[in-house]
Symmetry: D2
Subunit: 279 residues, 4 copies
């Protein structure tokens, strides 16, 4: 296996983050525009659409310094429509924009086992950026055209949100009917109810050791972030006039839980939220 070494130029509004990486050998830059003038491969990962917008379109933003034939790779999880707008701005500058949202969490990032769902205009573009993503992830999937990386991520997380609540209410019902939680999980996991939310991330404490639901729902994927991802799915459903009865209900469930003060709890907290506290 050949070792490929990439030079890294970094920028962040948090100076300390930049310093930490410079210590490890990265070069710093004075602004996104400055950074863009020094490389033809730019990776961005930001919390939400307005941040992405600012980093690309502000006075000292990427688009102010971008070179022809640059490959932009945005790993943020944001709205499909918003993402495509940035893509067309890049195109005007003869650069290419690819959406490449990620799943796998902090652990996946540390171990370079992330999954990237990539929206790229052509197989050529996809192949061009794949080696970069392979430094960080294990599973790099070409989901389709620009925006389709995000579309795939949003779809995946909508189904995850649904199945997590579904498993929570199913486990709660079974336990209330007198079933042992391990026996019930065992049956679900070998039958037609089998799913990741049951066999890998069961939300009932103690069913699977070592995961957030067995650790007071700390760490993991926060309910507030699930609510945010589901809001993107809802935008997409409005945009495409697609019916999503369970997805909409799941969204409201996580939103309400977040509003009631559980936004930082792992998504599996739906089980605690659902189950009977009285009696």
């Amino acid at each position: 296996m050949a070792l490929i070494v990439f030079e890294l130029i970094v920028f962040d509004v948090n100076n300390q983050s930049v310093k930490d990486l410079v210590k490890l050998g990265a070069k710093s830059s004075s602004s996104p525009a400055d950074l863009a003038s020094k490389t033809k491969h730019i990776i961005t990962m930001l919390p939400s659409h307005p941040h992405v917008n600012e980093v690309f379109t502000s006075k000292s933003g990427i688009l102010a310094g971008i070179q022809k034939e640059t490959q932009c790779i945005d790993c943020s999880t944001i709205d499909v429509v918003a993402s495509r707008k940035i893509a067309s701005l890049c195109e005007e500058k003869m650069a290419t924009f690819n959406d490449a949202p990620v799943s796998g969490g902090v652990k996946g990032a540390e171990n370079a086992t992330l999954t990237f769902m990539v929206g790229a205009k052509s197989k050529k573009d996809f192949e061009a950026i794949k080696p970069l993503l392979e430094c960080m992830g294990k599973n790099i999937v070409h989901s389709g055209n620009i925006g389709h990386g995000l579309a795939a991520k949003i779809c995946n997380n909508m189904m995850l949100g649904i199945s997590m609540i579904g498993v929570a209410e199913t486990m709660n019902l079974g336990i209330r009917l007198g079933l042992d939680k391990h026996v019930l999980a065992g049956i679900l996991n070998t039958s037609s109810a089998r799913c990741w939310s049951s066999d890998t991330y069961n939300p009932v404490p103690g069913v699977i050791p070592g995961i957030p639901p067995s650790n007071n729902y700390e760490g993991g994927f926060q309910s507030g972030l699930m609510s945010k991802d589901l809001s993107l799915a809802m935008n997409a459903a409005i945009e495409t006039q697609s019916s999503t009865p369970l997805g909409s209900l799941a969204y409201n469930f996580y939103k309400q839980m977040s509003n009631q003060g559980y936004a930082k709890k792992d998504m599996g907290y739906v089980y605690e939220y659902l189950k009977n506290l009285e009696k």
Copy 2:
């Protein structure tokens, strides 16, 4: 492997069914009571609670002829409370009642690969009936006490109902966003949205060849039966005061679909029902 041969005495309201089995070597009986007087192992499998009730409690029913120490095995999918009532009537006659609902469909029955979820009062009872069930199934699980076989089946099918609709709306949303159905299914199946309803029984025609959704939703598990099984889950949720927001919505979905004339369609038909016909 030792071959165990059981003598079979049969009864059915449909004479032809009885005749067919008699041709194959079974003995017939004149009534459930008559049958009960001739064996200490009785297997019943009936469409709904009133049928089970009648077969056990009518004038010529099982309880009229039952012998002490008989093991009753009811494979019907019925209400937990109703099932436990029959169990206590059996107990009054010094007999034992076990609920053992089944999953695996017609194919599972023909190939003796069914799964039985068994509610039995003791490990001893479970072991006593296990050899009989092994003639018909491959996976015989002791779910707990009487009623817990049904509880497990109801829980499994509630989760199945939820995830089938969830996958349908997720696939529909993704396809409307422009994703290729095979690519999307591939991503879901290797990510946190992974579930039986996506990787084994995907409701979108053509994603998985050879299953009912790829065969005009014919055969398979009928929507009307899913609606019935979900109604049992709803009874259980009312009984135990368990919150089941997605399960309730799934129930209404299948019920409405059945009321609109699609009761005989495979459960995967939710995809067709959901998706956009216009535009």
Copy 3:
């Protein structure tokens, strides 16, 4: 207006309640059976189906002492099917059973302004019991045959449960959008969103003075009782295979709220439960 005076014979498991009424001029009885042997008009009002069952069918129950041509009037809010079973037991004794559930609350009872929804086999039966109900209520409606009083009450309360949550989420959305709560309520109350839950019992504190939502959700109609009434609607929907998507969601909402410790709070508490606590 002629004054009609009825002799009152009472029974209750709570002796003090009986003593209180005896002081006011009522006669006591030693059991429901004893009471039934002394009058041909019997009014019952009990918290749930098993209580009604016991009062009628136990060894010293009403049916043990009932006289021919007695008019039974059950004001309990219970399951339609359960109610009809008691009705047929009464019929076997040549007596008549009418269901006559009530709405109007404690205040309505004190002021004799209750509404009775009466299920009676014939107009003659209805007319026979009407004068008795008029001593307690203002609005006595013949809803139809036996069970139809309950059916009407269950339907009314399902719609009430839906509209109360609907108004809560509508008011919350409007307030979050910056609307003044009084202005918004005023608009809803004069437009197509107009409903009792908005113009008479608005769940937002301070919109309507003097009602439970303006009094820390104390008094009023408890969320736990709403959950119970909605469970009866759910039973009826299962029984008749009727689709009730919003009713089912409302039921789960009140059930979950009750399970989380708010069962004693007035039904309007859905507003507090829904609204954003954070930010």
Copy 4:
């Protein structure tokens, strides 16, 4: 009563509409910019946000010709955020923008009995435009600041969408339980389930003569438009992170109904869609 006469200058992409009004005495204009240069009171009413955007911001749009101190009154039902963006563009031109969505339908327009929900920055602005709106409507409400007219309209229609489905499923359940539709409606209308969707626009054919549900669901408020209005409520709920479980379900219900080909049917068609066709 003093008669106030306003001069009318009109523009529409449909020339015939303009000609019709010119025949009645209106003056025509060559573009929105032209029109804006000739008057200081501009009323717009367009189907959706992109149309409003174009009419204001295109090269020959209103903003290209607008005079200082003009009062713009937009009667379109569009997104609050989108509306506020146009408002700030007007402000840059020293003009004022007011949102004034309308309810009351075609009949209300013909009879000048519409309701206008007005978002205006100040009481002075509101008073300035009120006389104009009084030519078309009967009920002119100052809902609050810019955007609050739309907010009120969106809230009202979300509640309407919820209560219409709620009444449909309540009536269906009651009828399935054997209640007469007129008796049931009568009880709901005098009890705590009372609402406009039951007492003024009952969706069951024949309960109220002369309304669209009694006329094969023709005319009235189309399901597709309800779906669109509910999508605006969903945008607002996402924007403000407000929980709307019933509103979301109602939205999906109308969206699915529209997708299945019933977009042109009156909103009361939910009753037909819900009810049992089989059995």
